[in-house]
């Protein structure tokens, strides 16, 4: 299994931190209110929220990053992810309908891109592989596209 580019770890961390900040806002807002009504210390809700956020913001991203991996075989791409429930999905190139390479602003800043393989499947018809360099994602897209052309239908 090939692991993702280190840039993706930073993308995940920043993403988690920004979600954490959003979660802290109501906790801070709730503090004075609870202080007035029940006499609890005003920092208590923020403290509780901060404790709850330790795992998803500080530990989570690196664990999740480590769980991601992919394996580019001759006829199929295997993508693995998931910390609690570990999922490894195999997508034979012949089943790919179309391919996207996408890059958000944050991803661009850290020099990573996402490869999205669309199949005709309904339950997980979109297989996403984040954290590739742009060049690698495009090279993979070209290789897979060559397979699609060989096998019509």
């Amino acid at each position: 299994m090939t692991s993702l580019e280190p840039g993706q770890l930073w993308v995940m961390r920043i993403h988690a931190v920004s979600l954490g900040v959003v979660a802290m806002i109501p906790a801070f807002a709730l503090g004075p209110f609870l202080n007035e009504e029940f006499g609890v210390p005003a920092v208590l809700p923020a403290l509780v929220m901060a404790l709850l956020l330790v795992w998803p913001v500080i530990v989570g991203p690196s664990r999740r990053f480590a769980a991601w991996g992919y394996d580019e075989a001759a006829d199929a791409l295997e993508v693995a992810h998931g910390v609690w429930t570990q999922v490894a999905t195999v997508v034979p190139y012949g089943r790919v309908q179309h391919i996207d390479v996408s890059q958000g602003a944050l991803e661009r800043a850290f020099g990573v891109a996402r490869l999205v393989l669309h199949t005709a499947g309904t339950a997980h018809g979109e297989v996403v592989l984040p954290g590739l360099t742009r060049e690698r994602a495009e090279a993979m897209r070209e290789r897979i596209r060559a397979h699609i052309r060989q096998e019509p239908e």
Binding site: T85, V90, P92, G121, T122
Partner: protein, 498 residues
């Protein structure tokens, strides 16, 4: 490209008549009545208002019919509509999944049919022609099929040719009727379809007469008070309760039979070269064609009672999105004997049924794995709640019943990968057997939850086109080694059978 000038046909004029008749009660009776009462004019105003409303309605219905045009071009179907702003929709042949024909009571009176061109884009009605005459519906279907064949390069005569000949070869039955249900069988099928739909009916009626009723029927206190009053009077006897239960059950059975009869009356499945043609319905008759190439997998279902009497249901999963998010699942034999199911499956190559006793069970820990999360929280809830409210201890009985049901439901989970076919069997109350050609599998994944890792288990899931999210042919809780073997075998075969 689709030619710009092909939208040269109009719907059948009878369409306008049907729309007119359908809108009549509201437009010509209800609205003028309201208008008369609101304006304070006397009864004498009613007739002129009604005539004006009818004329206006007729004008707009006619205009709408006049402005709706469609046609079949070289690349697809074109539909143009809109009174002021024109909307032009092109549906390329290669996007068409199914052409369905539906005939309601009014349609049948006028010899018409509603044609629905399904593209598999989220179940929306993308191309509905409401309505054309029957011959035109058949011609449309033939034209779509010929257009698709031409795109594939099958060398079939062009679209224009397909549109002209009266009896195209494609529509000629090949195997004839391969499955049909007569009325006794439909009625018997209805007995298995207990339905509570009549409750919705009662609710609707009460809702409609809400203002007229002398009491607030939504007021729960009223019922509780009334019930307590009756109990104190001694009017509630066990005979009364029994008869109420029997009445409810009887109504449920009658409603189930009626519903089934309306849906399945005159069920007929015919095999043609291109696919299976299914007709059914008492009031509204529907006719669909399931192209053979679009059949993704087969699903055989039965229940504990139906199994005892030897009845099974067979459905095919197709690419189209289907209705109500159930995936593109089409029943092809809703109530059939085992040999009838086998005959249809044999006709739907590459599908085939598994050899007897060829399916292997998954790990024995599967029941435990499925049971643990479903039992843990109810058990916790009952235990904690019981300390505060001792009556809740009875909840243990319910939890035990849930445990038994879950265990039964999970006990018979079996699978087999045999050549180009994956078989997955599951359930007791809903016994299901999936027949999945490896060629239909889009992706294969192996997943392990925390609990599964603790027990050394893994789930192998195969994704197919048009799959329902609720019931997929997943092989749950195999031992890890077995799961990896199955995944690798599926992976290898998916490359062979494209």
């Amino acid at each position: 490209m689709i030619d710009a000038s092909v939208a040269d046909r109009r719907l059948h004029p009878g369409t306008a008549a049907i729309r007119f008749v359908k809108a009549l009660p509201q437009a010509v009776v209800l609205l003028p009545f309201v208008a008369m009462r609101a304006s304070g004019a006397g009864w004498w105003a009613l007739v002129p208002i009604m005539i004006a409303a009818a004329a206006l309605l007729g004008f707009f219905v006619g205009l709408r019919w006049w402005r709706f045009r469609y046609g079949v071009g070289a690349g697809g179907i074109v539909i143009e509509h809109g009174l002021i702003g024109r909307t032009r929709r092109s549906i390329p042949f290669d996007r068409v999944q199914d052409v369905d024909i539906e005939r309601g009571p009014l349609h049948r009176l006028f010899g018409l049919a509603k044609v629905r061109i399904e593209t598999g884009a989220g179940g929306k009605d993308e191309g509905v022609l409401d309505s054309v005459d029957l011959a035109e519906a058949d011609r449309l279907r033939t034209a779509v099929r010929a257009g698709q064949a031409a795109l594939r390069g099958d060398g079939v005569a062009g679209v224009a040719a397909a549109f002209d000949p009266p009896a195209p070869a494609d529509a000629a039955p090949m195997g004839g009727t391969i499955f049909a249900m007569d009325t006794p069988r439909v009625l018997l099928f209805g007995l298995f379809n207990f339905s509570l739909v009549y409750l919705a009916g009662i609710y609707a009626v009460l809702n409609f007469f809400d203002d007229v009723l002398p009491f607030g029927w939504r007021d729960a206190k009223l019922y509780v008070g009334e019930a307590r009053h009756r109990v104190e009077e001694g009017a509630v006897t066990s005979a009364l309760i029994l008869s109420i239960v029997l009445l409810a059950a009887g109504l449920g059975i009658v409603a189930g039979v009626a519903q089934t009869l309306a849906r399945e009356h005159g069920f007929r499945l015919t095999a043609e070269r291109a696919g299976f043609r299914r007709e059914r319905g008492l009031f509204t008759r529907t006719e669909i064609v399931i192209p053979r190439r679009r059949v993704q997998l087969g699903l055989v279902e039965t229940g504990p009672l139906r199994r005892v009497f030897g009845w099974f249901a067979l459905s095919f999963q197709t690419l189209s999105a289907g209705q109500k998010g159930e995936g593109g699942r089409q029943p092809v034999a809703p109530f059939a004997r085992e040999d009838e199911v086998a005959a249809i499956v044999a006709d739907a190559r590459p599908l085939r049924l598994p050899l007897p006793d060829s399916l292997r069970p998954v790990s024995r820990k599967h029941v435990l794995r499925a049971l643990a999360p479903r039992i843990f929280f109810p058990l916790l809830g009952v235990t904690i709640g019981g300390f505060f409210l001792p009556q809740l201890w009875f909840g243990y009985g319910l939890v035990a019943a849930l445990a038994v049901f879950t265990a039964l439901e999970r006990l018979r989970h079996r699978f087999a990968l045999d050549g180009d076919m994956l078989f997955v069997q599951r359930g007791w109350w809903r016994q299901r057997l999936w027949v999945v050609p490896v060629a239909s599998a889009q992706t294969v994944s192996l997943s392990r939850s925390v609990l599964q890792r603790m027990l050394g288990l893994a789930t192998v899931a195969v994704d197919t086109a048009g799959a329902s999210l609720l019931s997929a042919p997943d092989v749950e809780d195999l031992r890890v080694g077995e799961a990896v073997t199955l995944r690798d075998a599926l992976k290898a075969r998916m490359s062979c059978y494209a």
